[in-house]
Amino acid sequence: MRNVVTIAGKELRTYFHSPIAYLVMALFAVLCGFFFYNLTAAYVIETFRMLEMGGMGAPPMNINENVIRPLFEGILTVVLLLLVPLITMRLYAEEKRSGTIELLLTSPLTDMQIILGKFLGALCLYVLLMVLAFLDIGLLFLYGNPAAKPLLANALGFLLYGGALLSLGMWISTFTKNQIIAGIVSFAVFLLLYVFDWVSAFSNGTVGRAMSFMALTTHFDNFAKGVIDLSDLVYYLSVIGLGIFLTARSVEALKGRA
């Protein structure tokens, strides 16, 4: 465990020694802030209009449903498709390029300690992004009264969704010495996993349902609504486990070749 923390600490320090952490956080803060502002502004305008109309006809507005949920479900999931590759692309690729992988693999560490350490380090940076998002959302408490409970589900879903992307991105990063390639391939794969969901819109067969099931965002819906469903939990934990397992396999193969 101490070794895992040592590796994680090193990863985190590397992020902050290089521009990557600042870039990712700045991009996220700007995008998240922009969409948050827009959603909130739209919400406020809409609320006033409904008040003027005497609140007739339309269902009552709700901050959780009309600001927070679309922010997570519609926007941040997409923003992360772009930002997570920036976090994971260097995890193995850079170690391979600079030869430091030889230091790691010849130190008295198990492969799994290295993998978990890297995953944990990347996850820590990701948690910082979450903090940024929730700082924005926290503002809502100053001016409104969003329900706090669904936010817990939102946070858990956000963490699991990111964890799944991070572990897959880490796996992809083991295949090349080139960070950029690792980043681009990760983005393409994430995008593909994202659009799997669209298939269900026009195909109702088994294939459609299977693809929709595999899609990374399908399982985020409940979390965004504020509901924790066991099957969603299991899905994300399985994807995280799969990513870690595939990374281990790939590192094993790396030794045979490189």
């Binding site: 101490r2 070794n3 040592t6 590796i7 090193k10 320090r13 590397t14 020694h17 290089s18 600079s98 030869g99 430091t100 992988i101 030889e102 230091l103 790691l104 693999l105 010849t106 130190s107 008295p108 560490l109 198990t110 030794k255 045979g256 070749r257």
Partner: protein
Amino acid sequence: MIEVEGLTKRYGPTVAVSDVTFQVRKGEVLGFLGPNGAGKTTTMRVITGYLPPTAGTVRVAGFDVVEQPLEAKRRTGYLPELPPVYPDMTVDEYLAFAGRIKGVAGAELKKRMDAVSETCAVSDVRRRQIGKLSKGYRQRVGLAQALIHNPDVLVLDEPTAGLDPKQIIETRQLIKSLAGQHTVILSTHILPEVSKTCERVVVINGGKIAAVGTPEELTRRLQGFETVLVTVEGPEKEVKEKIERIEGVNLVERHEASDGRVTFEVHAAKDKDVRAEVARAVVESQWKLFELKTSGLSLEEIFLKLTTKDLGEEPAAT
């Protein structure tokens, strides 16, 4: 300390190392000599547990690198061909990280960091970023990393490659000073390096061991026969005939001639010193003897002989 037995390593269809066996004794500095692509790096990567062997076993300090990798790795320090440094860390951060992942912690870590910085002469740059250091410093930081956990065995892959002459000399001295407390195996394709730093040499070529021995032994074994250079002032033909008649002399060749002095190369049977006989023969005939010496093959020549011989023999074998 290091026992390599029947080691074979294949990369797909390419055989990088084939059936290599050798030992490194405790406290010894062993040179691993071979041309580019001989399989030096591959062998070292197997010893350090970076690559699994295709066949054969490697034991470090009694631990099999496949069966008990963590035990073996704890006792091994490795400096790869390219120093495995993180350019954005400072020297201190890097050594602390390397120490921690090798199981050194707390006050002991501080002590080891001070000690290896001192040994490897990087004390004056400990707060500098590694990426901004010169190649020589980076190499020494890499070496400090290999020493941080005070390993029994040090594996150094071309430790002087890319350094300037002064740094090469310093690095060699450093390596020599490490012998005794550490068992060292270092690879190189630069010949003077082995004779200067190593007690024993393993010559490897095309993935196979071509020769093993001390630099002196190798020289003797390879010569196969003794060669004496003799410079005489006298009638060339007669001198040649006279020397040829000496017992044990196989062949006399004219080496060079100037100002009436002729130098002959006298090849004698193995382990036969004919210098005294040659001197007597020349002086008896009242010729003037100017010089008489054995010609030791330099390691450079041995190396060429060893490695070209293999190639030359291959067509004959098939």
